[in-house]
C-alpha cells in the first residue's frame, strides 16, 4: 500500500501574520529538494498563494450549491416539503405551491428526496470555484468563494474532496501536502486543520497576535493536533518581551522565529518566493536563514521521509 503524504496545515488566527508566506515557502523548499508537493489554498475569501508564487489562476471548476426548483405542473400542493424543512426555507400556504426562501436554505436536498409527487427538481447555483494548477513545479489547489456568497464551507468541502482525489490518485504520489488557511478560528479553518497531521500557527509579537494565537490554539487543541508556533517579524519591538513571556507561560513550543527582513518584502514585490533557488552571487539574509532552519526542524518533527 502506498504511503499517504504527511499533511501540514499553516494557520494562525490573526490576519496578515504571514501564513501564506510560510505555506508558500515551505512548499518551495520541499519542491527544491525534489519532493512532490501539493499546496492547498483554503483562504477562500482571499486566495493569494498563486500571487506569491508569481503565477496565474487559470482553469477552474464551479462549486455548486443545491437549491429547490418546484415543478408547478407536478406539485400537488401537499406541503410535505415545507413541513419537514428544518430551516423553514419553504413557504407553504394551504392549497398553494410552496415558495423557496433561498436565503435560509441549507442545501440539504431533503425536500427533493421526500416530495411524493417528484415535483422538486435539483437546481444549482455557483457559490465558488476550485482551481487545479501547477506553478513552479508545485501542484496548487485553490478554493475561491464567489464574492457576495456566504457558503464558504461548501467551497472548502469541495476543495478538500479535490485534495483527497489527488492524494489517492495512484499516478500522483505526493510526498508532502501543505494547507494554507484563512485567518480566524471558524469552521472553514477547523475543517482544514482537521485534515492535517501537523499544524503550524503563524503569529507575530503583538497584542493582537497573542490574543488570536490563544484562540487558534484552543481550536487546535480541541482537534487534538500536534502543533508548533512560528513567530514572524520576531524582531518587532514594543510588545516583544511580554509576548515571549506569555508564550513561555502558555508552554507553547516554538518552531522558529522569522526576523524582520527587507528581503521578504522584496520577494513579495517581485513575485518570486523568498526560498526559490538563489543565484550564486545573491546575498543570504536573516529571514532566508530562519526559513532554512525551520525547514530542517519540521522534517525532524514530522519524521519526514520520501514516499
Amino acid at each position: 500500500m502506498a504511503n499517504k503524504p504527511k499533511i501540514i496545515c499553516v494557520t494562525g488566527g490573526k490576519g496578515g501574520t504571514g501564513k501564506t508566506l510560510v505555506a508558500v515557502n515551505l512548499a518551495i523548499m520541499f519542491k527544491n529538494e525534489g519532493f512532490k508537493t501539493l499546496l492547498v489554498d483554503g483562504d477562500s475569501e482571499n486566495p493569494n498563494t498563486y500571487l506569491l508564487l508569481g503565477g496565474k489562476l487559470g482553469k477552474r471548476e464551479s462549486v455548486l450549491f443545491f437549491k429547490p426548483l418546484i415543478n408547478e405542473e407536478k406539485c400537488t400542493k401537499c406541503g410535505i416539503c415545507a413541513d419537514n424543512c428544518v430551516p423553514h426555507a419553504l413557504l407553504h400556504i394551504k392549497d398553494s405551491i410552496p415558495i423557496p426562501i433561498l436565503a435560509v436554505c441549507s442545501g440539504c436536498k431533503l425536500c427533493f428526496k421526500i416530495c411524493p409527487a417528484v415535483a422538486i427538481e435539483p437546481d444549482y447555483k455557483t457559490v465558488g470555484w476550485v482551481y487545479n494548477i501547477t506553478i513552479r513545479d508545485i501542484d496548487l489547489l485553490v478554493g475561491e468563494l464567489k464574492p457576495g456568497e456566504a457558503r464558504s464551507a461548501t467551497v472548502i468541502e469541495a476543495l478538500l474532496a479535490k485534495v483527497d482525489n489527488k492524494i489517492n490518485n495512484i499516478g500522483e504520489k505526493y510526498d508532502i501536502v501543505i494547507i494554507d488557511t484563512a485567518p480566524g478560528a471558524h469552521c472553514d479553518v477547523e475543517e482544514l486543520i482537521e485534515k492535517a497531521d501537523y499544524v503550524i500557527p503563524v503569529t507575530e509579537p503583538t497584542k493582537f497576535g497573542l490574543s488570536d494565537l490563544i484562540r487558534i490554539n484552543e481550536l487546535i487543541s480541541l482537534l487534538h493536533k500536534d502543533f508548533k508556533v512560528i513567530i514572524n517579524r520576531s524582531t518587532l519591538l514594543g510588545y516583544k518581551n511580554q509576548f515571549f513571556n506569555e508564550i513561555k507561560n502558555l508552554k507553547l513550543e516554538i518552531l522558529g522565529n522569522i526576523p524582520l527582513d527587507d528581503e521578504v518584502v522584496n520577494s513579495y514585490c517581485a513575485g518570486v518566493p523568498l526560498m526559490e533557488n538563489k543565484k550564486a552571487h545573491e546575498e543570504i539574509g536573516p529571514a532566508y536563514q530562519a526559513f532554512l532552519k525551520i525547514y530542517e526542524t519540521i522534517k525532524e518533527w514530522i519524521k519526514f521521509e520520501k514516499n
Binding site: P87, A89, I99
Partner: protein, 130 residues
C-alpha cells in the same frame, strides 16, 4: 372584506397590546374588516415563537394560512419581509409606541399607517440581545 393580522402580546385580542416582534410574538390577532368596520376577531397563538430559526418565515406562513391579506408590524426582518412579499401580503408599519390592536386597526382604517415593502431591521432582531 380583508383580514388584517397583528402580532399581539399575551393571549391576543383587540384590547391587547401589539407586539413589536413579528416572528416571535406570542400571538397573532386576525381582524376581519368590511366597509371600514371590524366584523370578526380571531386569535391564533404563534407556533413559531420558540423555533431555532426561520421564525419569520414560519410566522408569514401562519398568517397566510389564516387568510390575511394585510399585516401591521413593528419590526420586520429580511426573511419575514421576503416571505410576506412572496405571499403578496401587504405590510403596514405600526407607530413605534405602546398601542393596542384596536387602536392600530383604527389608525389603519383612517389611512394613518405607512405601507412598507422591505425589512426595517436585520435578521434575528426578535431573538433579543442588545
Amino acid at each position: 372584506m380583508v383580514i388584517i393580522a397583528v402580532p399581539s402580546d399575551g393571549n391576543g385580542g383587540l384590547n391587547e397590546l401589539i407586539n413589536s416582534r413579528f416572528g416571535r410574538c406570542p400571538s397573532f390577532t386576525f381582524v376581519k374588516v368590511e366597509d371600514k368596520k371590524i366584523k370578526e376577531v380571531k386569535v391564533v397563538s404563534n407556533s413559531a415563537v420558540g423555533q431555532m430559526g426561520g421564525a419569520g418565515i414560519h410566522a408569514a406562513q401562519l398568517i397566510g394560512d389564516n387568510g390575511a391579506g394585510i399585516v401591521i408590524i413593528g419590526f420586520l426582518g429580511p426573511n419575514a419581509a421576503q416571505s410576506l412579499n412572496a405571499l403578496k401580503i401587504q405590510i403596514y408599519q405600526a407607530p413605534n409606541k405602546s398601542i393596542t390592536v384596536r387602536e392600530v386597526i383604527n389608525l389603519y382604517l383612517e389611512n394613518e399607517l405607512p405601507s412598507i415593502n422591505n425589512a426595517n431591521v436585520a435578521a434575528h432582531r426578535g431573538m433579543g440581545g442588545a
